[in-house]
Subunit: 526 residues, 2 copies
């Protein structure tokens, strides 16, 4: 029987709070440090590994974390989720994004259909469609091939798919699976759509309109923007657009689209990269086989997340350590630092996935919690970040836990040897150096050049960022966020905090305002 | 006489700490709220205005902030800085980036020359060079015009110029001043340079190598990368490259470059957008007149920053409120949210400018401080952010002060009317709505739909993001950071925290490691 309890009511959390804090600089020094790096590592899918040697944990803390995982019933709660219980209690919905990439448990029936079958069918429909586009069987009105795909969506319909596209663009070009360039229109700022439209050949572009409800203001506005552009170019918009939406949305059966592919209410926008939301644009850009490999990587990682053995479950362990850092050590923010230019927008996607899921002040019963929940999350790729905000991370007054990602090999493979090392080696040398610099620091008589150390980090290491590794990486963070939501006892799958702004914006546009809002509206010429 | 004291030793700071906290939801309601929005506004340069109505200040807090500014001698310290005192005490350097855009005070002589004259000469040399490139007087070896400029630089040589380029790209295209596309290579990840090189026509590209010291590892490595590509294309690299560096660097007089333009040690990388570092690439991309307008906007804002009247000095006021939020109210992070897609990378630039400047734990005498200094800073453009991390900002357990930016008009001017409003009106309506939603909140019996409010924000409002407005906006944040450094009594102009990582990375590449670092190196195949 599952019981949902606040973190601070758990005996194991009280015990965790009493463990002795690890002196990171000390344990990471010498041979002891070398042993930690070898031992504090968990295999992930696709050849990745999660290494937490530079976290402030030791056997005592880890034992307390295992107890916490057990008392909080993390494995059981995930099981309930993938077996189809109503985990999104606020919106009374199942949470089924894992099912877009595999069947972890029992078959789940909803809306009168088996959901795994439903998601696979949508993927198959997308694959058929994409193959026909690539083969020139689906073309523009002039019978010419489409050369560009443009995703129109915002939030989860934008950040995840865009980050995944950028992550695999160069890999696909190198490996001969690159089919067409993808662009993204998201912001209601008219300059966003206008700039993208100015940069493409609309006559050879296919647009993917993504809105689960079919009512997202930004997305429908940008659709009109695009339709105007197509019309002005003398083109029939309905021959250039497909929709990704729910079956019940107004877009689902419209003649305005070449085709419609479906997601449903059981997949939150920020967890939709492995659904049709990511599937359409990524299959068009790279081919359905690449998208399938991406799903395989995620499915394999999901299986590891389902393990009850905490120390062999990378997502559960990462989640637990994060909660320890947030709720015992008191660190207010975290940063994701991929040493891979291809992951340049991966932190922006995680920023949504994490902050929108767990940035909550009430538990799943609507009662205020007495402890901090989701932290601020930010990040940029290394080595760029080293020349930007790392100063604060090394010597600032706040400690910010770090999540590194690194790969042994580059994607394109073009490289240059300077001073006896390749750029890829320099990249990897930098991330290794940073972990130790943050953990161990370095004393200096000049306090301005002194490094205290004691700044914890983890690293996920892989061979190369390929579709499967990317899927595993995505699933890692998605599932980590889910487990943290279980620990904080919040509903990670709704987002009521975005509603008030929408309501007030409508009032402004209807000129139904007074007081401060009226004056701001006047100042902004609305 | 200037005296440098820690924040917590100032009587006025103790007094500020005792002021009554403003109930933001209350003061922003009704007619009182409307009056605040009208009154709590300071004019900036280029028609911008800084509005702080939604900050937790009232006449009592403002009076305390004015006293703090006076006791901390903010105006005198800025005066000392622009009159050429050694404000960067750690590195024993003057701090002269303001002089790249104007002469605020006395002439300053250093290295035997008048520095204002020196910076103007460099700008003139760049303008002449850019004009010749645009006129086809400087061409590739085949006598063909250059069509693309590629900046090679990292940190301050990348983030600022890149953010400024993106901010003005569409404006320049719309206003007929767009000369050539700019690209940027920064990361030592070989996939960064390879992808950029694959995306351009190298035969018609001119590269700007930017390194003050001429020794930045990433930049020199990427230079070799580019030279290889030029050589492989049968081209003479020296006919495709210019350098931006200091006069004493190895790059300064090299025959490897078509031309060299100079900056100096008195301009930190993160404050170099208005120097030759931004000047070369922006003048080539948009023409020197556009760069000159950008400098004019910054110069005008600098003049406002020099005002001793705190309540008429937008930068001083913003800095003071930020310190109040950080050191009295205890907020650990801040976010910059431009409602302008063109400013998509402006927060990334500010992330460096702010976190690298003030992420310090020791004062300018090398003594540890007992209070928090620079906060974590992050941001993404609105309305995108609303569909991403705003959930946490509205309903999370931490309060994160917000810095909005909004413009009445778009840059491109193409727009569409949906439901009686343009996209630009929707964009502006959203930012107005967000300010009020964050400040006032909204009670709901369902605690999950409840908004506590009391979340402070400011907004900078302008007519349109043009070069002058961009210059003013940049100078605003640069000077805000400087004043905060004065308040925290830290040296905002060095960055010793980036050194240790560099040293350890070299050891890894030289295979001179042991312990944990050796094992990480092995895991990453170095």
């Amino acid at each position: 029987m599952i019981s949902w309890n606040n973190l601070d009511t758990l005996t194991s959390f009280q015990e965790l709070s009493k463990t002795k804090q690890v002196n990171l600089a000390e344990v990471m020094s010498g041979e002891n440090g070398a042993e930690r790096v070898k031992n504090y590592s968990v295999p992930m899918a696709a050849g990745l590994a999660y290494n937490y040697a530079a976290k402030k944990v030791d056997d005592e803390v880890l034992a307390a974390l295992v107890k916490l995982a057990e008392e909080a019933q993390l494995a059981d709660k995930f099981k309930a989720l993938y077996n189809g219980e109503v985990i999104n209690t606020g919106e009374k919905r199942l949470v089924l994004h894992h099912m877009t990439r595999g069947q972890l448990g029992d078959p789940v029936t909803a809306d009168g259909v088996d959901k795994r079958t439903f998601y696979v069918e949508q993927q198959q429909k997308i694959a058929d469609f994409a193959n026909k586009v690539h083969a020139g069987e689906i073309t523009n009105a002039a019978g010419e091939k489409f050369t560009t795909v443009v995703q129109i969506g915002i939030g989860g319909s934008d950040l995840g798919p865009r980050a995944m596209y950028l992550a695999l663009e160069n890999w696909a070009k190198k490996n001969g699976t690159f089919k067409m360039e993808a662009k993204f229109i998201s912001n209601v700022d008219p300059d966003d759509a206008a700039a993208v439209l100015n940069s493409i050949d609309v006559a050879h572009s296919i647009f993917v309109l993504v809105s689960k409800s079919g009512t997202t203001l930004e997305t429908l506005t940008n659709e009109s923007f695009v339709k105007d552009a197509l019309k002005n170019a003398g083109l029939d918009a309905s021959k250039h657009m497909i929709a990704v939406t729910s079956e019940t949305s107004p877009l689902a059966k419209s003649a305005d689209y070449l085709a419609a592919f479906f997601m449903d209410d059981y997949i939150g926008g920020r967890f939709s990269s492995t659904s049709a939301v990511g599937g359409a644009v990524l299959s068009l850009a790279f081919g359905p086989e690449v998208f399938a490999q991406f799903l395989d990587g995620a499915a394999e990682e999901d299986k590891l997340s389902a393990s009850e053995e905490v120390l062999k479950n990378p997502e559960m362990l990462d989640a637990l350590i994060g909660v320890y850092e947030r709720n015992v050590l008191g660190y207010p923010a975290t940063t994701v630092l991929p040493y891979s230019q291809a992951l340049s927008r991966f932190p922006a996607h995680l920023q949504q996935a994490d902050m929108e899921s767990n940035g909550k002040s009430v538990n799943r019963f609507g009662e205020p919690v007495n402890y901090p929940t989701g932290p601020v999350l930010f990040g940029e790729p290394g080595t760029n970040g080293q020349h930007s905000f790392y100063q604060l991370l090394h010597q600032g007054t706040d400690i910010v836990p770090l999540q590194f990602v690194g790969f042994k090999n580059s994607q394109i493979g073009t490289d240059v040897v300077i001073e006896d090392s390749t750029s890829q080696q320099k990249l990897c040398a930098n991330v290794a150096a940073q972990i130790v610099a943050f953990a161990c620091g370095k004393e200096d008589e000049n306090r301005n050049k002194n490094f205290e150390g004691g700044r914890p980090s983890s690293i996920i290491i892989g061979d190369q960022l390929d579709p499967k590794a990317l899927g595993a990486l995505l699933a890692h963070f998605e599932n980590k966020i889910m487990f943290q939501g279980f620990l904080w006892n919040v509903n990670s799958f709704d987002q009521e905090g975005v509603q008030l702004g929408k309501v007030l914006a409508k009032k402004v546009l209807a000129h139904e305002t007074d007081g401060a809002l009226k004056v701001y509206s006047d100042l902004l010429n609305i």
